[in-house]
């Protein structure tokens, strides 16, 4: 967690290339096009699958080609990556469906 700049929040909207439902972290590989039309792939770290599961996420929650928006704390080293704080559909709908245990 020390590798992320927790003083800075960045919002990204892009297309999911891959959702890695893996331990010790899940990752979203998100293709993001900037104002100049250049596409960059971001590596977005999440918690372990068990934490996402408890919040109603499943491997099928994000499919390749899905458009999403995320807010992240970016990597301190300036590389295209960060830790996910929130993830929604582009119109702001929360991803994952919370289920009671």
């Amino acid at each position: 967690m020390a590798m992320f700049d927790q003083q800075k929040t960045v919002t990204l909207t892009g297309t999911v290339r891959e959702f890695q439902w893996t331990n010790p972290h899940c990752y979203i590989q998100l293709s993001v096009k900037n104002a100049a039309g250049v596409t960059t792939e971001w590596s977005l770290e999440m918690g372990a699958p068990m934490y996402l599961f408890a919040e109603g996420w499943r491997p099928s929650t994000l499919k390749a080609g899905t458009q999403i928006s995320v807010s992240i704390n970016p990597l301190k080293d300036g590389k295209p990556g960060g830790v996910v704080l929130t993830a929604t559909t582009p119109d702001g709908k929360q991803l994952g469906k919370k289920k009671a245990a």
Binding site: M1, M3, T22, M46, M50, D77, V83, A101
Partner: protein, 265 residues
């Protein structure tokens, strides 16, 4: 000559019998023992360590926002409150420098104080403690002792025996391989450390674990810590997945970063 042969045969039988364990009970007697044991079924999580999709609990996020340590806020076995001696302080400093290195799992003792749910499977013969990373502790409650010194070796889960004092499970654990090499958040104790836990349900939905650790190599005296567990919400089963995609690496400047994605099957 015949007597010597008989003694040798008896010795062979003893050697083949393996470790001494409690006498086999009849099904009815076993059921009677089972009936008296507590029921801690379900999934349990360290109190206040319910974790967001980003991987931190709300309490850890709040602590970080005020410049405090996130683990200090929720993990009493991380090592902050321990009476470290000079060797322990040296190891803690080394651990702090290597904070972001790759892990293999959690192991003991940090699996008892992590954000990964744990499960207690209580039987008359042993208690199994299992977490979501499939770290498993076998706590034998059948009256056996720890294996002899030449029949035991250190592992990241250690060797545990236990007994019941009323509704309290008392666990004695030795031979824990320095857990810090396995999981970077673990306390950097030595393999001479001796752990005693007293675990009991103190109220519905609340289990307490009083942990005492003695380690002549890294501590000046007994380290006493308390961990409280609450039901893990959102779990209808244990969520287990292989531990094979730790992408925390280092950049050219030696700073932790996310390694590029590699093609996955």
């Amino acid at each position: 000559m015949r007597r010597v042969a008989a003694l040798m045969a008896a010795g062979l039988l003893v050697a083949m019998a393996g470790p001494v364990v409690a006498q086999t009970k009849s099904p009815a007697a076993r059921a009677d023992v089972f009936r008296k044991l507590p029921n801690w079924s379900g999934y349990w999580l360290t109190e206040n360590d319910e974790t967001s999709i980003g991987g931190l609990s709300q309490r850890a996020i709040e602590a970080k926002a005020t410049g405090q340590s996130g683990p200090r806020a929720v993990m009493s076995l991380y090592g902050f409150g321990a009476p470290w001696n000079d060797e322990g302080k040296r190891r803690q400093a080394e651990k702090a420098k290597a904070g972001g290195r790759k892990a293999e799992g959690w192991g003991y003792p940090i699996m008892m104080n992590g954000a990964a749910p744990i499960q207690f499977m209580i039987t008359p013969e042993e208690v199994l403690i299992i977490n979501a990373y499939r770290d498993v502790r076998h706590v034998y409650t059948d009256g056996r002792k720890h294996p002899d010194p030449d029949d035991i070796w250190p592992t990241v889960w250690g060797d545990s025996i236990g007994h019941w004092e009323g509704d309290t499970l008392v666990i004695d654990t030795i031979q824990v391989k320095n857990p810090n090499y396995y999981f970077h958040g673990a306390p950097p104790l030595s393999e001479e450390a001796h752990y005693v836990e007293r675990i009991r349900l103190v109220a519905p939905g609340k289990i307490e674990n009083d942990v005492t650790i003695i380690d002549p190599v890294t501590l000046t005296g007994p380290w006493k810590a308390k961990v409280t567990y609450q039901p893990a919400k959102g779990f209808d089963r244990m969520i287990s997945i292989e531990y094979d995609n730790d992408r925390t690496g280092s950049d050219e400047a030696g700073q932790n970063t996310i390694e590029p994605a590699t093609g996955r099957k």
